[in-house]
């Protein structure tokens, strides 16, 4: 799954640590999501959407190159 978390975070001027703090997760989790090494659970994806005040489908989307 692809995401535009780095861009959204940069728009707000937040560090990975700050975003992690807002979500109550580790910085490792944010790094893993941003680098697409980890797809978050639905509750975490919705929590991320809430933090950015955007619909979840505008942050996470399918990677069309993968089946």
């Amino acid at each position: 799954m692809k995401n535009n978390l780095p861009e959204l975070r940069a728009e707000r001027g937040w560090t990975q640590a700050e975003l992690a703090g807002k979500l109550g997760v580790s910085r490792q989790t944010i790094i893993a999501i941003e680098t697409e090494r980890y797809d978050p659970s639905l509750p975490l994806a919705f929590a991320i959407a809430d933090v950015f005040k955007r619909p979840v489908e505008t942050i996470f989307f399918r990677d069309r190159s993968k089946k």
């Binding site: 990975q16 640590a17 992690a20 703090g21 109550g24 997760v25 580790s26 910085r27 490792q28 989790t29 790094i31 893993a32 999501i33 941003e34 680098t35 980890y38 978050p40 659970s41 975490l44």
Partner: protein, 131 residues
């Protein structure tokens, strides 16, 4: 739990686990020495049983880190434990057939020394994750 606490948690785990692993290796050496060199008695029993204490402490430190971790940390801990178990299983399976061919008989506790480094490698990799 915020990100600073998570970082401290992982550092705490590495500190605790690292020390207990070192104690485990020393206790394992002492246990093997006692088995080969001491006559049955309280000291021999104590030394032979001694690796179980650091072994259990390593497991406790990991369970604490797992329970306090977030979903990604928990997944990584499970992957690390699974890989360690896999390496241990493969090593045990192969050695079970190598031993009848002439390799020395080793204590079952010896297999831990192959599984734990894999587990530590995965956990350190998690701690050092960079963007």
């Amino acid at each position: 739990m915020d990100h600073i606490e998570f970082r401290l948690l992982l550092r705490y785990w590495l500190w605790q686990f690292g020390w207990w692993f070192l104690v485990y290796l020393l206790a394992y050496g002492a246990a093997m020495w006692a088995l080969l060199n001491l006559q049955p008695g309280p000291l021999r029993t104590l030394l032979v049983l001694s690796p179980t204490v650091p072994g259990l402490a390593m497991i406790c430190a990991t369970v604490i880190a797992y329970r306090r971790g977030d979903e990604f940390v928990q997944r990584e801990v499970l992957i690390a434990a699974s890989l360690a178990a896999l390496v241990t299983a493969v090593w045990t399976l192969i050695y079970a057939y190598l031993e009848p061919l002439g390799l020395p008989h080793v204590n079952v506790g010896f297999v831990h020394t192959f599984g734990w480094p894999v587990f530590i490698w995965r956990m350190v990799r998690l701690m050092r994750l960079r963007a």
